[in-house]
């Protein structure tokens, strides 16, 4: 009876199913929407006044038009265009034509004739300009059609004589974008003579309107960008434009000169008013340098920026940029830099005590002094003391680039960079410190320079100090006094700003390992050892003492004589620090002690590396097993996972790969285990509790797949497919488990529907990768898709179950570079026993400082979670400005988190940790068709979630009740 009833229920249900499916079918049929062109036509016919028509057009422009109806719409628009008298409406139509011809999947060559046609009859300059713009859109859409391009160029040339600057502008733009690249184009195109585009554009360099001149130069630059080789004759033309009255012309001209100088660096140009000749690149360099003192700051920025990329310039010219040729009362004077250097070399320590210390020396020959046309003279001196910080930053950047390519220049520009450390704008200071770090391989700091550099350590800005620490990590110091000075200043910094502790220790580590021989003579003084007396043992917890030890131990690594100078407690402290701060203290060969760990030789290439081989082999072993008995498979998987995890711990460079594969294997293992469950063998209604394991497995697999997808950087599409496939399997598992356990059929039905939609979605997203997934779960599933669509849920579940069991194990291809995102919270350290007290109801700001590794786009994904003891959890989204980017793949989060709570009786701990937010729709590749956009957003509700990716830190807080 029960069975009979059940059947009845199902029967009734099937009807409903069919109805629903029909509904879906009708939905799909609805694709044939009423044609947009028809609607537009009706609208435009209804319009009584130009203003009305304009309104309709504006409304129309808000919605996208599908590719197949574009042509119809264009016809309607053109028809209306001919009838329209109002230029503003014609203008809008022209702009719409341009927009429409950009539609993907629409070939605009059919409307070109019409566009050119209406162009010929148009009187309004604005509409003409817009039509030319439309033609440009059409022309760029059809880059391969030579004939069309030639024709468009012809049209442009014809309108170049127009009186309106707007039209001439557009014509030049058109020429720049479409002008033929090779001179010998096929001449069959309607007998059109090939035009010399460069010559035509060049003629407009002397147009009366500055906007047209600018457009002409821009067009020329555009030609260059498209790969056309510009003639050298343009150089002289462009040089004339440098003295133009308008800044935009000068700015563009500077660019053009730069381009030509890069094209013909070695050709020779004459110097006007003399018989000499110089290389073109040098001449151009001189000219651009001259523009650094232009009256417009836009041009100054442009010129300073471009200077940086002129590396072929001869060193003679380059070094002039730093020399202003000082004089005073017609007598040659030395710069303060030269004086400082001299003082240093003569051995005197302090400076500037004497009046007239800077007294000028020898007389200058008045005839030889050249005040203006001295080419590159002092360009950077001017640039670096410009009023606008934009110019100063550009100049610093240019200095950096030039110094990187020329060591001798690097040496010379050092003084100027050091001076920039005192700039009034922090950004400029920071930039110059970074620049200095980049060129620090080429230079050795003199003591007086070091002195100035170190003075900045007292800066109250944390960014500046940390940048400076980074700089000190890679500078070369010449004397032991220098090292001592650096250490003293760093310790001063440490006492003034204790939060800089880690950064300073790291800095000293590098300082020590770079200069072992200079540290050696300082050791007794630093450790305050005495030849006869034992001195008091310093406090081990003193950060300053640790700083000194870090310096010494790192120096001792390459200096075997140093440990002889250590006293007993130093060795004890070494052992302690080696354990507690192993990243700062290296392993030393100490007499009478064993080496703590045998260092792995890091020089071996990762692919020859045995551990890498091991990884490969163990993975291959797993993938090779297909139809082993389940028991054996499980064991093998378990072992491999264990191996991989251990390998990841040992080999940091392989950690990403190992973890990634281990996670995948774990998913597989969970799936196998779930399918091994006994519950499948027993009749459905009997097993309720035992199914927990399977559903938990399904849930866990889902979680792991999200981790795989979003926590690793460097995951490619290949892997994403596999991950999604795994997730699909997990969903199938979930469905089966629910089918087994759930009472009633209603939820099951919905789930079934949803699952099928997801399969559909999977197929659409990864259609290109489907061939790689042969024999897999989804492959089989798609084969049976038509059947599944029509069958009852019970049947679907059954099919799914068998398929899951039969499906093979997919091989996960390993990506080239893969890194797991990780985060460490440096602060709060979680050590404090003193609770943070604040009045309840008010807020307390907690400083959070964390380093993030391999997080893509941390500004939008990283969040801070605070969980209170009562289970309340808060999610805080840090400001984008709180993230710094100290190096590739590394980020630093320095932010403040506001805590608040009602009063507590006892101090208690809150947990702070970092979360990685993800959004499943972000990773999915764009569906290839346009119409799909709406559909998919209905079906696939994007799943958002968070993955914790740092250890949580406990903070002791105590909200006190407010006193009345």
């Amino acid at each position: 009876m029960a069975a009979h009833l059940k059947k009845r229920v199902y029967e009734e249900f099937t009807k409903v199913v069919q109805q629903q499916q029909e509904e879906i079918a009708t939905k799909k049929l609805r694709l044939t929407k009423p044609s947009k062109s028809a609607a537009l036509h009706i609208d435009l016919c209804k319009a009584t006044s130009p203003a009305d028509a304009l309104q309709y057009l504006l409304q129309f422009a808000r919605k996208p038009v599908e590719a197949e109806s574009v042509e119809g719409v264009v016809r309607i628009l053109l028809e209306h265009y001919y009838k329209e008298n109002d230029p503003s409406v014609r203008l809008k139509i022209a702009s719409l034509l341009g927009l429409l011809s950009k539609t993907a999947g629409f070939s605009p060559d059919c409307i070109m004739d019409d566009a050119i046609n209406i162009l010929q009859n148009e009187k309004s300059h604005q509409v003409l300009a817009q039509l030319l713009d439309t033609l440009l859109a059409i022309g760029t859409k059809l880059p391969d059609n030579q004939a069309i391009q030639m024709r468009l160029v012809d049209v442009a040339c014809k309108h170049l004589t127009d009186t309106s600057h707007g039209v001439r502008n557009k014509c030049l733009q058109l020429l720049g974008n479409l002008g033929s690249l090779e001179k010998s184009v096929t001449k069959d195109a309607e007998g059109l003579a090939v035009r010399d585009v460069q010559k035509i554009i060049g003629d407009y360099f002397s147009d009366q309107d500055p906007r047209v001149r600018t457009a002409a130069i821009k067009a020329m630059l555009q030609l260059h960008e498209r790969g056309l080789k510009l003639y050298q004759t343009i150089y002289t033309q462009a040089c004339k434009l440098l003295s133009d009255d308008y800044e935009q012309v000068r700015s563009a001209a500077v660019q053009l000169i730069w381009v030509v100088s890069q094209l013909y660096p070695e050709s020779i140009v004459p110097i006007p008013s003399s018989n000499e000749e110089i290389r073109l690149v040098d001449d151009a360099f001189g000219k651009i340098c001259h523009m650094v003192s232009d009256s417009s700051w836009v041009v100054r920025v442009q010129a300073s920026k471009l200077l940086g990329s002129m590396e072929q310039v001869s060193s003679h010219f380059l070094e002039q940029t730093l020399d202003k040729k000082l004089m005073s009362d017609l007598r040659r004077k030395r710069t303060a830099h030269e004086r400082a250097k001299e003082l240093y070399t003569s051995g005197e320590f302090s400076s500037g005590r004497k009046w007239g210390d800077d007294a000028p020396k020898e007389e200058v020959d008045t005839g030889a002094v050249n005040l203006i046309e001295s080419g590159a003279c002092g360009a950077f001196v001017h640039g670096l003391e410009d009023e606008m910080y934009e110019v100063r930053i550009a100049a610093v950047e240019a200095l950096c680039m030039l110094a990187q390519s020329s060591p001798s220049f690097a040496e010379k520009c050092l003084d100027f960079l050091v001076d920039m450390f005192n700039d009034e704008i922090e950004e400029v200071r920071l930039q110059s410190i970074h620049t200095m770090r980049k060129i620090s391989n080429n230079i050795t700091l003199r003591e007086d320079q070091l002195d100035t550099v170190l003075a900045v350590l007292e800066d109250s800005s944390r960014d500046i100090r940390e940048a400076l620490h980074e700089l000190l990590c890679c500078t070369n110091v010449s004397t032991k006094e220098g090292i001592h000075l650096a250490l003293v200043e760093l310790l001063k910094n440490l006492t003034k700003y204790p939060t800089d502790r880690d950064s300073i220790w790291k800095c000293l580590k590098f300082l020590g390992s770079r200069h072992p021989t200079l540290v050696l003579p300082l050791v007794p003084e630093l450790l305050s050892t005495h030849p006869f007396f034992d001195t008091a043992e310093p406090d081990m917890d003193d950060p300053a003492y640790i700083a000194v030890l870090v310096l010494i131990f790192n120096a001792a690594k390459t200096c075997p004589t140093m440990p002889a100078l250590f006293s007993d407690h130093t060795f004890r402290h070494y052992a302690y620090l080696r354990d507690s701060l192993s990243h700062l203290v290296p392993a030393l060969r100490l007499p009478g002690r064993k080496l703590v760990s045998s260092a792995l030789s890091p020089n071996i290439m990762p692919h020859e590396d045995p551990s890498h081989q091991f990884l490969q082999q163990s993975l291959e072993r797993v993938y090779s097993l297909q139809h082993l008995d389940p028991q054996g498979t499980q064991e093998l998987l378990e072992f491999t996972i264990r191996d991989l995890q251990r390998l990841g711990e040992l080999q940091s460079e392989l950690a990403g790969v190992a973890d990634f594969s281990a996670t995948y294997l774990r998913c597989q293992l969970l799936l196998i285990k779930a399918l091994q469950e006994k519950l499948w063998n027993v009749a459905a209604p009997l097993y309720l509790k035992q199914s927990d394991l399977a559903s938990a497995a399904a849930k866990q697999i889902m979680e792991e797949t999200y981790k795989m997808e979003f926590m690793y950087s460097g995951v490619e599409n290949k892997q994403v497919v596999i991950i999604h496939h795994m997730r699909l399997q997990a969903k199938a598992l979930q469905l089966i488990v629910t089918a087994r356990t759930a009472r009633g059929v209603d939820p099951l039905f919905g789930m079934c529907e949803k699952f099928l939609q997801e399969v559909d979605f999977f197929q659409r997203c990864f259609i290109a990768d489907l061939p790689h997934l042969q024999d897999s779960f989804v492959d089989k599933l798609l084969d049976l898709m038509p059947r599944l669509m029509t069958s009852k849920p019970a049947e679907v579940v059954k099919i799914l179950h068998t398929m899951l069991r039969q499906s093979t194990f997919l091989h996960l291809p390993l990506p080239e570079q893969i890194h797991k995102a990780s985060a460490t919270i440096i602060e709060p350290a979680g050590e404090s026993d003193n609770p943070l007290r604040f009045t309840s109801g008010l807020v307390v700001a907690l400083d959070v400082d964390a380093t993030l590794e391999h997080v893509q786009d941390p500004q939008s994904t990283v969040k801070v979670q605070v969980s209170y003891p009562d289970g309340q959890a808060q999610m805080i989204h840090p400001k984008p400005a709180d993230f710094r980017n100290p190096g590739p793949g590394r980020h630093r989060l320095i932010t403040q988190v506001y805590l608040s709570h009602t009063a507590w009786t006892e101090p208690c701990q809150v947990e702070v940790r970092l979360l990685l937010a993800y959004n499943s729709s972000s990773r999915i590749p764009k569906s290839p068709w346009i119409e799909g956009g709406e559909m998919s957003s209905q079906v696939e509700t994007s799943i958002e979630g968070t993955i914790p990716f740092s250890k949580s830190v406990k903070v002791y807080i105590m909200p006190k009740p407010a006193r009345r």
Partner: protein, 599 residues
């Protein structure tokens, strides 16, 4: 011949009492009205009798322009306007207008109260004088009268310093005042557009100097102060009240902020406080950094710089004190110097030039034992430093400004003759413009060729444009039209329009010419021969054979007639209007050569 005349009454080959008379297109302008610091007799003010010989000042001068508030540019103003007597407008920028009376009052006090001079201007005179002042904004074009207009450009140097462009019609003169081409901590760099004046009058204080980067100086200064303060020493910086003092204050203030230093900085009170107040108000006149950040914080609202009290000089611990006057010859700075000189931990920094005979000059030249009044001997143990912070453009800066403005002539003032000579030579050599450097009282006359604007009617212009290609600036173009001069304005219109406007009837002017041809045939045949000949020669022109037997080429008529006496000769009558003169004369010469023999 129109001309521009320039006569410096002061600052010609000299520094101090800037005062320059300019006559441009019948307008007379006085630029600056300063006093000379080196003199205390009549020579301290410019010699206004040069003008008053020819009548009252107000009748002669159209306006007076003051470039900035330094006394050598505005010190004689109350004397000039109240005592000599001038009632016309005085133009200056707003900061100058605000700060100028403070300085004048201070100057008056020293002259009258301290030195006891009689016959000096009074406070009331200063007030009356300031009432005649009209304030101008940067880049604002002020119409002094119908023809004379002036415009101010930013000049750096001190707060409110400006360069002025004086323009009458198409003639113009630019006067720079004092300016600085390198920005400092509180002011930006001077800037002018490519205004191409007929004459640029520029200062040339540092005509023979190219200065080092200011960054070295700043760094040096900060380092010295910082070291002394860290040692626990006191730093004394003697300054003049306005200008450099503010720059140094900002420099120290930002440094203190950046380095988180705690030692106090004091500023001796007096007129400085008033002036600082104005510095706070005139933010648009400062540099980029101050302008951008003043919304968060006004840089002149110093956190670390506080007002000085006499008692502070004895308090222990490090401190920095700015005190007036700058040359350490009297007043507060000298008092403090006496107190601190004995300690070698302390330091005095002289930020500017010191006149011979002052204490400042003595200690800078290395003297360690100073005799003070009352036979006391003061031993100087403190460190003495010299730093030069100057806000004038150096030779390179001057050249840069000349390059920016592109003048036709340059005139140098406010500098020493010997140095000017060098700069003059350089300017002439590098810009190829003539350069002058008149002495005081010497007049420079520049002939100008003012351009006369002519309006052209749109119809005519369009017609011309339609005929030819785009206008080319290098080639002259011939254009037919009528020039109408009416009420001192000029218009170029087409002849038809001119006739219509003037209500005149058009007269036709025709040239006729007879050409004798030896031809025995009939007139008609001759005409046909002429027609075919011309048709073959003049391919570009429209040649027609009319039914009445005459031939036309464009509008030229040719008729053939038999010679009354000699039937073998035909007479060709050629007639053309004067507009077709060119073609007509060509045709006659062509016909005179005869027709080709018919084959």
């Amino acid at each position: 011949m129109p001309e521009i005349r320039v006569t410096p009454l002061g600052a010609g080959q000299d520094v101090g009492r800037s005062c320059i008379l300019v006559s441009i297109a019948g307008k007379n302008v006085m630029l600056d009205c300063g006093m000379h610091m080196g003199f205390s007799d009549d020579r301290r003010f410019p010699d206004f009798s040069y003008i008053t010989r020819s009548g009252r000042l107000t009748d002669f001068l159209d306006c007076v322009i003051i470039s900035h508030f330094h006394l050598d540019h505005c010190g004689a103003l109350p004397y000039f306007s109240e005592m000599v007597g001038y009632d016309g407008p005085i133009y200056m920028t707003q900061p100058t207008q605000a700060i100028c009376p403070i300085l004048l009052e201070d100057y008056r006090k020293i002259a009258v109260d301290k030195k006891g001079e009689a016959n000096f201007f009074t406070s009331q005179m200063i007030k009356d004088c300031m009432k005649k002042v009209v304030a101008v904004h940067l880049h604002q074009t002020v119409q002094v009268d119908d023809e004379l207009e002036i415009k101010a450009y930013y000049a750096g140097h001190v707060l409110g310093a400006a360069m002025f462009q004086i323009k009458v019609g198409s003639e113009s003169v630019v006067y720079t005042g004092d300016y600085n081409m390198t920005p400092d901590r509180h002011l930006g760099a001077a800037w002018i557009d490519k205004c191409r004046p007929n004459l640029l009058i520029t200062e040339s204080t540092y005509a023979t100097t190219i200065r080092d980067s200011k960054r070295c100086r700043e760094r040096d200064f900060l380092k010295k102060v910082h070291e002394t303060v860290e040692r626990g020493g006191k730093v004394l910086i003697p300054v003049f009240a306005l200008g450099r003092a503010q720059e140094l204050c900002i420099l120290l203030e930002t440094f203190w902020e950046r380095m988180d230093l705690k030692a106090p900085i004091y500023f001796s009170t007096g007129l400085t406080e008033k002036a600082n107040h104005y510095y706070k108000l005139f933010i648009p006149w400062t540099n980029q950094k101050i302008r951008k950040t003043f919304v968060q914080r006004n840089m002149f609202e110093f956190k670390h710089v506080k007002a000085f009290d006499r008692a502070f000089a004895d308090s222990p611990g490090p401190m920095v004190v700015f005190a007036t006057p700058g040359m350490l010859h009297a007043g507060q700075s000298l008092q403090i110097f006496r107190k601190w000189a004995g300690n070698e931990k302390n330091m005095v920094i002289m930020p500017g030039y010191c006149v011979q005979g002052t204490v400042g000059h003595k200690i800078l030249s290395g003297q360690r034992k100073l005799e003070m009044e009352g036979r006391q001997v003061l031993e100087v143990k403190m460190q003495v430093e010299y730093m030069s912070f100057s806000a004038h453009a150096d030779a390179k800066g001057i050249m840069q400004l000349v390059g920016q403005a592109e003048p036709e002539n340059v005139l140098l003032v406010h500098g020493e003759a010997k140095k000017m000579e060098f700069l003059k030579q350089k300017i002439e050599q590098e810009f190829r413009v003539s350069c002058y450097m008149p002495a005081n009282g010497e007049t420079v006359t520049l002939p100008t060729s003012p351009s006369i604007p002519v309006g052209i009617s749109l119809g005519l212009l369009k017609r011309e444009l339609a005929q030819g290609l785009l206008p080319d600036s290098k080639k002259p173009r011939l254009l037919h039209g009528t020039l109408i001069m009416k009420d001192s304005n000029f218009r170029l219109v087409s002849s038809e329009q001119a006739l219509k406007e003037l209500g005149l009837a058009e007269h036709q002017l025709r040239f006729t010419c007879r050409v004798h041809l030896h031809d025995t045939r009939k007139e008609q045949e001759t005409a046909v021969r002429v027609y075919s000949h011309l048709k073959s020669v003049l391919k570009d022109h429209c040649v027609q054979h009319l039914p009445d037997g005459s031939v036309t080429v464009e509008s030229i008529l040719i008729q053939a007639a038999a010679h009354s006496e000699d039937p073998g000769t035909k007479v060709l009558l050629v007639s053309w209007t004067y507009q077709d003169e060119e073609l007509g004369s060509y045709l006659t010469s062509l016909l005179k050569k005869g027709l080709p023999q018919a084959s």
